[in-house]
Symmetry: C2
Subunit: 214 residues, 2 copies
């Protein structure tokens, strides 16, 4: 029986889809032990292949790590993009939803988040990684631009600055108070509320009003 190699490619030669299986196993280990706490050898044991098998798919351990970070940024960009939803139902709500999506990703995907931001990978380690990272940031920038466009010409802040501020604030809250692991610092309020409040104050400072009840 012959199978087209395009027909889903479910079953491959021996394992079927070792690349994916290695990535998933590595994510499990990263989730538990951190980005530095997984070994190529342990990954192969988890998947049930020989220790030499991964070398058909990744040049070395670092290449696997970088690939995981790239995949993480791609998923991240999707989540942020979904939350932005082209600025619907209104620009301000969509903007805040992007912030919340940022936190949600850090909490529900701590392994990806760690690979992306805590693995000490130079952001420009390779082209695909840099590109995926840029695409995620582009969502923040797009959302900032849309909000800025609603301000009168003379009151418009630089969009790059504004999006970097939102990124830094989201990342700061996520990595200090909103992480999904033991290194989370406990504070007496949910990180979601903390970020929402920060964004409201910040936007207020930019002259972007809202109907908040304090």
């Amino acid at each position: 029986m012959r199978r087209s190699k395009h027909a889903g490619g479910r079953r491959g030669y021996h394992h079927g889809n070792l690349t994916e299986a290695l990535v998933q196993a590595a994510l499990d280990l990263i989730r538990e032990y951190g980005p530095a706490g997984f070994s190529f050898a342990e990954v192969t044991r988890a998947v049930g292949v020989s220790p030499a098998a991964p070398y058909r798919h990744f040049r070395d351990r670092d290449a696997l790590m970088a690939d995981i970070a790239r995949r993480g940024f791609e998923r991240f960009a999707e989540k942020l993009s979904d939350a932005w939803n082209d600025g619907q139902p209104d620009t301000l709500s969509a903007f805040k939803a992007v912030g919340q999506a940022y936190l949600a990703f850090a909490k529900t995907e701590p392994a990806y988040y760690a690979a992306m931001f805590e693995a000490r990978l130079p952001p420009d380690a390779n082209r695909e990684l840099a590109q995926a990272s840029d695409q995620a940031f582009a969502i923040l920038r797009r959302a900032s631009e849309a909000l800025i466009a609603e301000l009168p010409q003379e009151k418009r802040p630089p969009a790059l600055m504004m999006s970097l501020h939102i990124w830094a604030m989201s990342h700061g809250i996520a990595s200090l108070f909103g992480r999904g692991d033991d290194a989370r610092r406990k504070v007496p309020m949910p990180p979601e509320d903390l970020l929402e409040a920060a964004i409201l104050v910040y936007l207020d400072g930019l002259g972007i009003g809202d109907d908040r009840e304090v």
Copy 2:
């Protein structure tokens, strides 16, 4: 010749001050290879003692790591406190100086900073660590309270929230754009300016005015 054990304690038994030497060597390694990239064995080689020597000073590798983080938080608190300078010459300037001191610490002491925030140590790993961390945060809180006190009663935000916002923003900017190692993301403006602008916008949102020229 007899020496009082309180007279500085410069020269000890064999090495003199092995605890300090181990910490310094570990910091060098963390600076170069990250918090996960140093080994007890390598530290002993750097110092020139036998591999068993550190066990007289630290229970194990993790204890050394935690001690470094604690020392880091203590130095950090000092730097922030110096910058705050009891709110002199004026509250707003002192407040901004604290933010700048935060960034400066992350940049000039990347090894301490990594041990404090990127070693995946649970913040309450031990009492001394938690206490040192709390003391550093207390400076941010004190500075926030002083600024808040200048606002009319009915416009005062919660001091805890405000100080967590400033912490998150400083940490976000420091760890994304202001780090002293390869993982720094390049942006076309100095992190110091980015933080200064963020603080001004944020304070503006709280109704804390200033004479900034944009």
